[in-house]
């Protein structure tokens, strides 16, 4: 269980204007601005939950993860993870957690990955039996058989990221923090990583906290989403509710032939290409129509349109999660 209450963190940032004279000035007088990275952040996460932690760049996501993993001390506020304060009992705390920082590497650059794994075994004091068991499981699930004998520097990004994830899970942590784990991965690796995380949560009841800019990660993995912007928690809720709140639109894409389309309230034509056949007085067209679900149902709209023309092809698509998030950021002005 993770309890965070009223956490604040301010960073001092040295700023100056460009240019030589400005640089010389700062030799004598440095100007610092303070940046409020986290502003009264509170939330609770139960055991076994998977939570997506989202927000635009510089919102405070990574700072939160760093505080939760005990490597950053907040200015004030309380944080209890399994009854311990991360930055006060750092060493005991980190035994229970696994962390993946998507932009950094924990593998030793020049030696085969397995050597790094064995070092981690000794650092965490994992018994040989448990180590073999975890390693075998991770090797199979993440498909690492060949990879672990290769030096880390010769791995591709996707291969390395899978090894990073494995390295963070060797000591069977109850909580896993993933800070942008799919950054820079191709579609295949992304899906492999996502499936693995889902399995892990199902099988071992691992609590997972995930920060990402890839909304498909969020959609595939988490039910609950916490939105942070400018250091404040703006929303904490269910992904489905969020989608409903901000995604009350659907798109109809259709091919038709007939006399032409006559739209009613709640329908909005986004594009319409057609060619007119003068002899038979028929129009052949391709249209994209946006539906406002508050005024009109999808079935109602289709019924209406099909009474006006022959619909030769039709598809319905929802608001993509990316669009939902853009709307969300817009609403909170972050």
């Amino acid at each position: 269980m993770i309890q965070v209450e009223h956490i604040n963190k301010t960073f001092k940032v040295a700023r100056r204007n460009p240019g030589m004279s400005e640089a010389l000035k700062t030799l004598f007088h440095k100007r610092y601005d303070s940046v409020r990275a986290l502003d009264n952040v509170s939330f609770t996460i139960e055991d076994g939950e998977m939570v997506g932690y989202i927000g635009p760049n510089g919102a405070g996501k990574s700072s939160t993860i760093k505080i939760l993993s005990g490597i950053l001390t907040p200015d004030d506020g309380r944080c209890l993870i399994n009854g311990r304060t991360p930055w006060k009992n750092r060493i005991e705390h980190v035994r229970d957690i696994g962390v993946v920082f998507g932009q950094r590497s924990q593998l030793w650059w020049d030696v085969p990955v397995i050597d790094s794994f064995e070092l981690l075994r000794d650092i965490y004091g994992i018994t040989e039996h448990k180590f073999r068991e975890n390693l075998n499981e991770l090797v199979i699930l993440l498909n690492l058989q060949e990879i672990i004998k290769t030096p880390a520097r010769q791995l591709s990004l996707g291969q390395r990221m899978r090894c990073e994830i494995a390295a963070s899970l060797l000591h069977s942590p109850g909580i896993l923090f993933l800070d942008e784990p799919t950054i820079g991965l191709d579609a295949v690796s992304k899906i492999a990583v996502r499936n693995f995380i889902l399995d892990l949560n199902k099988k071992h009841k691992t609590t997972v906290i995930l920060t990402t800019h890839d909304m498909q990660d969020i959609e595939a993995l988490t039910k609950r989403v916490i939105l942070i912007g400018r250091g404040k928690i703006l929303m904490d809720g269910n992904l489905e509710d969020m989608k409903k709140q901000f995604g009350g639109y659907k798109k109809l894409i259709l091919k038709y032939s007939g006399k032409g389309l006559n739209l009613c309230e709640g329908m909005h034509m986004l594009s319409n290409d057609y060619s007119r056949d003068e002899k038979e007085q028929v129009v052949n067209g391709h249209a994209i129509i946006e539906l406002d679900l508050d005024t009109i149902q999808v079935s109602e709209a289709i019924a209406r349109l099909s009474s006006q023309a022959d619909l030769t092809d039709i598809s319905v698509s929802g608001d993509s999660i990316d669009e939902v998030v853009v709307k969300l950021y817009k609403q909170y002005e972050i």
Partner: protein, 267 residues
């Protein structure tokens, strides 16, 4: 303890990989040692009685210094540690159930030792076969040799503990350049790396010998050549122990403080 051993082992093996660097190092150290000995030879020829150390003892001092250079030179700092502070990779090290001070201490020791192991043997063996009085001579007796080993270990600890302070100061300054330059240049002189401490005027020498820098290579090298023995040796060992303790405690305190306010750089 197991985790430190394992960490030591990986670091050690890692260090042994750099064979070309070791060869280059050996060549440099031969040249440097020879130049130094020739320079002193010129002084000794003018007036052999003006110096506090006999010439063969000085020669052994220089060869031993060159052989174990990587154990005792404070400029032998690890860029990886500085980088991890600068770019924030220290984040992962802080996620391990292990004290950062001990981890870095182990790592520095392993690094220095692995380099020394590769380099010391060729230098020691070849230097031992140089003709009199340019060759490395054996210590006076086995007792002197045992004392030499003891002071060598203590000096090693003092050096690593001192370097830890340089690393820790980087938490505050971010850029390691300034600290490195000052610390390294100063220590070179005060520790007897440039000229052995007995060559300094008596009053200055007396003060210098109390400083932590004198507890570094000065003690084992002079013990080996027989320049330091009896009461002087015991005092030197006592000082080595005291300085090890003081440096380690200061380092641990500073580190704990630094970690309270550490900012992990970059995203």
């Amino acid at each position: 303890m197991n985790k430190y051993l394992s960490f030591f082992r990986l670091r050690f093996v890692n260090g042994l990989q750099y064979r070309a660097a070791a060869l280059a190092g050996i060549a440099t150290q031969f040249t440097w040692g020879a130049l130094e000995i020739l320079m002193f030879k010129a002084f000794y020829t003018v007036d052999p009685d003006a110096f506090p150390m006999a010439f063969p003892a000085l020669v052994s001092y220089v060869w031993m210094q060159q052989a174990f250079l990587t154990l005792y030179m404070t400029w032998y700092l690890e860029n990886e540690i500085f980088d991890s502070i600068r770019n924030g990779n220290i984040a992962y090290e802080l996620c391990r159930p292990i004290g950062l001070y001990n981890m870095w201490f182990t790592r520095s020791m392993a690094n220095r030792l692995s380099r020394a192991v590769l380099r010391c043997m060729p230098i020691l063996i070849v230097a031992a076969f140089f003709p009199e009085p340019y060759g490395l001579s054996l210590p006076r007796d086995s007792k002197a040799f045992v004392w030499f080993l003891i002071t060598m270990v203590l000096a090693f600890i003092v050096v690593v503990a001192f370097c830890m302070l340089v690393y820790i100061v980087t938490f505050y300054t971010i850029s390691p350049m300034g600290v490195r330059m000052v610390a390294v240049a100063g220590v070179e002189f005060f520790s007897g790396a440039i000229i052995p401490l007995p060559f300094l005027p008596n009053n200055i020498q007396r003060i210098f010998e109390l400083l932590p820098f004198a507890s570094m290579q000065n003690v084992p090298l002079r013990t080996y050549t027989g320049d330091l023995s009896g009461r002087g040796l015991y005092i030197a060992i006592l000082l080595q122990v005291i300085w090890s303790v003081i440096l380690i405690i200061t380092g641990k305190r500073l580190m704990a403080k630094a970690l309270q306010k550490v900012v992990i750089q970059g995203g």
